[in-house]
Amino acid sequence: MKAYLSDRMGAALLMAPLLLFLAAAYAWPFFGVVNWSFTLPEPGLGQYGTLLSDPLVQSVFIRTLRIAAIVTIVSVAAAYAITVVWVRGTPAQRVVAEFCILVPFWISVLTRAFGWVALLSNRGLFNTWLQAIGFISEPLTLVRNEFGVIVGMTHFLIPFAVFPLASSMRSLDDRVLLAARGLGSSRMRTFWSVFVPMTRSGIIGSALIVFVFSLGFFVTPAILGGGRSVMVAELIYLRIFQSPDWGLGAAISVVLVLFVGALMALLFRYVRPKQLI
């Protein structure tokens, strides 16, 4: 009995500092933000009413969902293509694929967004080159619009989409694929009717991760959208710092958390957490 008690004491003493720190520095202020959403500027559900009725807020939500959906489809497809080579390629191909996945993954979001500005802006590499070969006379507008946001977000999220896909492709039994080929199925058919269905859990996991990430994305849309293609996260920033309406910013945050929470619950119904690493 004494040993049991001291065990519980030990566990409590070791675990308490982090739990108390996060309770004070994360849980408590989060409820403060929830409180803002019900009390600023006046007590009540007014801000949630605004959320439902204000056409600006609604257009931002719809744009966010649309961009997140496009980015999810494109990044998962692109990640799939490179993951196949990373997991199943020859040793040399694997090294190259790993390099191309991990280098961007470890480079900061700002540097990557800046790289796209350098590439796509009016005086950037792409427009300079197209004008030099005489293909266009006026520079194309490729950033500071939705196109730039989608390109930059896709670039940021591909490495994140790779990891769940890679884990589902690694656990796949080679012999099934060889059997399909041995029975006379073409490469295409083996891929579409055997390989892809067997990596379904990876596809679902990776799509949900990318979708959830894109919903709350801030830096890339703010830089590549140039204020013209505002997404939910940037709207929260604007409501806190530029045309202050803290209550509305807080209410949008609460709705975002609830939505993401529902999506995560869905994610864990389909995929075990271990498969995501």
Binding site: A25, F30, I82, S108, L110, T111, L177, V219, I223, G249
Partner: protein
């Protein structure tokens, strides 16, 4: 034994994706060498003036030093908290472990912008009490970064603990070791690689952090990403290109060293 390899179509598609992933990283190289003051492709002449600006302009130096200081403090703090917590989970396997770990991982799964407004609320509330430790102070930023990095440190330490053989701890316990001795002399030496990785990852995440930092700083605590952000939003400063090239080169070197180490270990 034959294995199933990707065919030519897969290889071409993967190469296109690889090109897409590397293109923006390569694009910053010519921009960093432009002789003009604005963002443009160099036409003919190349110049290192933007690299010189990084060394000569005190704003860049100051923000780099500040980012290093915040990174070290927040990484030390979050690694120690994560280590204690993980040891408690592993040694005592208390009830509600799953719920407690889930709570600790929240800052990792909640959208960063919501964490940002939450930490903004926290630091502005503290500012009312202390001007030394709150909104727009370096200690406040370090604490906010610790909140954001502690889930990652915890995951890494828990993963390396899960690969540890429980029998060595049971043996130590049977031989009469106290909790402190088990933790410091038996368990920690066996997971030191995980602890160091957790500290390094926390530092890197703090060094790069921008989403939360934007909400909790204004004029005093200008970290490196914060300064880059300011230079990206208004008139784009080509010094950012020079800085980006340096950061990309460091990343490539570190990753190459890491894979060389892994390969050497694999050979042994």
């Amino acid at each position: 034994m034959p294995t199933y390899r990707p065919g030519p179509v897969s290889l071409i598609l993967a190469a296109l994706v690889a090109l897409f992933l590397l293109l923006p990283l390569l694009a910053v190289i010519p921009v960093s060498l432009t002789p003009t003051r604005m963002l443009a492709m160099p036409s003919g002449e190349l110049s290192l003036r933007h690299y010189r600006a990084l060394i000569e302009d005190p704003r860049w130096i100051n923000s780099i030093l500040l980012s290093i200081r915040i990174g070290i403090v927040s990484s030390a703090f979050s690694t120690v908290l994560a280590l204690c917590f993980s040891l408690g989970v592993w040694m005592f396997q208390p009830r509600f472990t799953a719920a407690l770990v889930g709570f600790v991982l929240l800052p990792m799964v909640v959208p960063p912008v919501v964490s940002a407004i939450t930490l903004y609320f926290l630091l502005t509330s503290i500012s009312g009490v202390s001007s030394f430790f709150g909104y727009d102070t370096w200690l406040g930023v370090a604490m906010a970064h610790a909140v954001m990095t502690v889930p990652f440190a915890t995951v890494l330490i828990l993963v390396s603990l899960s690969q540890l053989d429980r029998r060595i701890d049971l043996a130590a316990r049977g031989l009469g070791a106290t909790v402190w001795e088990r933790a410091t002399r038996i368990i920690m030496p066996n997971i030191k690689f995980g602890i160091v990785t957790a500290a390094l990852l926390s530092f890197v995440l703090s060094w790069e952090e921008i989403g939360v930092t934007l909400f909790i700083t204004s004029v005093n605590a200008i970290t490196l990403p914060r300064l880059m952000w300011m230079g990206l939003r208004d008139n784009i400063d080509p010094a950012i290109a020079a800085l980006s090239v340096i950061l990309i080169i460091i990343t490539v070197l570190v990753l190459a060293a890491r894979s060389a180490v892994i390969r050497l270990r694999g050979v042994q």
